[in-house]
Symmetry: C2
Subunit: 411 residues, 2 copies
């Protein structure tokens, strides 16, 4: 895509979030510890052929946005001040490509501009590609979804006037894409009434540039975070995605390897992608980076008694020092084996301090003691219990429970 | 409402949930351990002036539904077999009030019939009352919501034809209510095409009974569980609601009372409604029932060393034996105090078995050891940590972590 076309994005983020019941506008609400808008910007920056992302911000939020852009290293983002309505904000965003309106670096006019919403974080490269292609061919394109509810027209006395046939109508979603001149010229020509009360870019392109947008069926995850409940949903979707990869790192001692193997067997049925490696294979930040780039944010680290929690310590300090700014909190489950004949107890009290330190770098450390009985059947039962606990920790990613010592199996 | 009118409900639940990506139809998916349809039926049964709830079920799901109705004690529910489409199913539901089509007891024809969706569990008495009143006056009424997205009409070549003005249109949601004869006669007169391809009852009432439905603005929580992500949302909404009430039960010993007081202070800022009582006040199932009917599903039970976890044991056995079929799992946090000068350790290993037993009755027991240092400031810090842990347990309601011993404060 990049060789042929210059493609950039305008992301209006000036909304005040009145449907959330006041308070923080929804684009700034945290989702897994990071403002929603940052998740959306990241989704755009993941796409290699997108040149610039112009984010249009309410004047009073410019400082907050500058902080977010800096904090999470959004390198392709430029900020532009918004206007009082959605259309005026988008228009400001488009102008930034022509004039020097941007609060940051100079921008180059793209052939195709994608317009998206700050509060739709789950946009994938696939649909961006489809609408960009369609915009190149048709001048304009937009993602649509089937209607979930019937749409009705009401009369002035608050009664049903008529209902629309559901199959002939679609919900217009985002992203939308336009040949730059098509949408820019539409904005130049449209009326003040349009700028103040309109919301639909496809409509402007039709009305003023005479371009009939191509409609592209988008996936359900394109939905717009509108109500407070949508924030829960966004967090749940991310947590579910994060729970698809797990890396088990074992000490080289025999018992550790056995538990590593059993856990691998048991977790395989619950997680799509479980990888087991020996701790000697994961010694440098570079190797770890390889694992993280494979989108793995979950680690089970199997220690042996002789080393207390040295393996966990090594891993967490690698995670903390790897120089990657992680998109999501990592989970490290520090597994320890508890033999009935073992003399003395392992000193795990240091895990608490380790967990507190690691949390500052968004690494969530929990410890899990697995009882290791002589009886093979009982051991397998304990490993099954351990797997359930690991899954629960990974799915919840609860920062409050870090440093706690959980137990699988009966004494 | 009941003195004036007989009001009953038809709940079509025959959908196959194709938008969930196959698998279990969404009305049977568990939400906090119970099928979604049961949550919706319960919402209807909570309303005292609703006489009957006719649930229309796909023939292949009748046995499953019978099990659910029995399991959760849905006493006002009657089952009817559905047809191949939504309208045919609703029609079957309406006929059940006239003929003896019901799979259970005989039904009486209501003046007003409410039609709702199996997959909208968060319907409140308030909106039911509004639409029932409006139906009595107008013949028909339905809940509506503002459109979240612009609605567009597409041309046959998949391009934008025109977009609808958002302010003049509404999404038609459920519940809807009708004078029984208005909707029944509409079904009698409508065509096979309507029955096979239509979905909107308000439309039938307009077309065949010439009744223009009154539109009532409904709350956002009326939304329809459509996609898999909506199940996460439903669960989060329930969890948030459950986290609004907490009851602290303390042993009469001085230390326990002190911790109870400090926890109460600390939790008050995080929970709307915290009640603290002495364990002597909560001795019978009857007293407990009073608390549960106040919709409290969260308990913190403060034990003292001398009694191990006797207080927790008493409470959980009351919860198990109270004869109430609870709508949601209860959380019991068993608090234990850990004094530095204490000789010997408390034996909490029995908590694990207690928790396992209690879980069968949907009571989730966790234990929490609070370090009790001499230093007042440190104690307050530990109590703050304990409060965070309690909040996390209440918000997550994770069945996997029951029986675990968590710790607040450093040794």
């Amino acid at each position: 895509m990049a060789e042929v076309l210059r493609v950039s994005v305008v992301l209006p983020a000036g909304g005040t979030g009145e449907r959330m019941g006041g308070g923080t506008p929804k684009q700034y609400c945290p989702v897994l510890g990071r403002a929603l808008i940052s998740r959306t910007m990241e989704a755009m920056e993941r796409v290699s052929w997108i040149s610039d992302v112009v984010v249009v911000v309410a004047p009073e939020s410019v400082d907050l946005m500058k902080f977010i852009v800096h904090q999470y290293g959004h390198r392709r983002v430029s900020l532009v001040e918004g206007g009082p309505t959605r259309h005026r904000s988008i228009f400001n965003g488009l102008r930034a490509f022509l004039e020097d309106h941007s609060l940051g670096r100079a921008l180059q006019k793209p052939e195709v501009v994608i317009i998206h919403d700050a509060v739709r974080p789950f946009v994938e490269e696939d649909v961006l590609q489809q609408i960009t292609r369609a915009a190149k061919e048709n001048g304009a394109a937009g993602a649509v979804r089937p209607l979930v509810s019937t749409v009705i027209a009401s009369s002035s006395d608050g009664c049903l006037d008529h209902s629309l046939e559901r199959s002939k109508h679609r919900a217009s979603e985002m992203p939308q894409a336009f040949l730059f001149d098509v949408i820019y010229n539409a904005y130049l020509q449209c009326t003040d009434y349009d700028l103040d009360f309109g919301t639909e870019c496809l409509h402007l392109a039709l009305e003023y540039s005479k371009v009939r947008a191509k409609l592209v069926e988008g996936p359900p995850d394109l939905w717009k975070v509108t109500y407070k409940r949508d924030l829960y949903t966004a967090e749940s979707i991310i947590k579910e995605r994060l729970a698809k990869h797990l890396c088990i790192i074992t000490h080289n001692k025999e018992d550790a390897i056995q538990i590593g193997f059993l856990l691998h067997e048991s977790l395989k049925s619950q997680i799509k992608n479980v990888k087991a490696i020996s701790s000697s294979m994961c010694k440098t930040a570079h190797e770890l980076q390889g694992i993280l780039l494979g989108q793995c944010y979950n680690f089970v680290c199997i220690n042996v008694k002789e080393s207390d929690f040295e393996e966990t310590q090594k891993l967490t300090s690698l995670l903390q020092s790897s120089g990657i700014c992680p998109s999501y909190p990592s989970v490290v489950v520090s597994v320890h084996l508890d033999f009935p004949e073992q003399s003395g107890t392992q000193d795990l009290s240091g895990i608490r301090d380790l967990a507190k330190e690691a949390q500052k770098a968004d690494v969530l450390v929990y410890s899990l003691l697995i009882r290791f009985p002589k009886d093979e059947v009982q051991l397998q039962e304990n490993v099954r219990e351990a797997s359930s606990i690991i899954m629960a920790l990974i799915k919840d990613r609860n920062p409050v429970l870090t440093g706690q010592i959980l137990v699988a199996g009966k004494k």
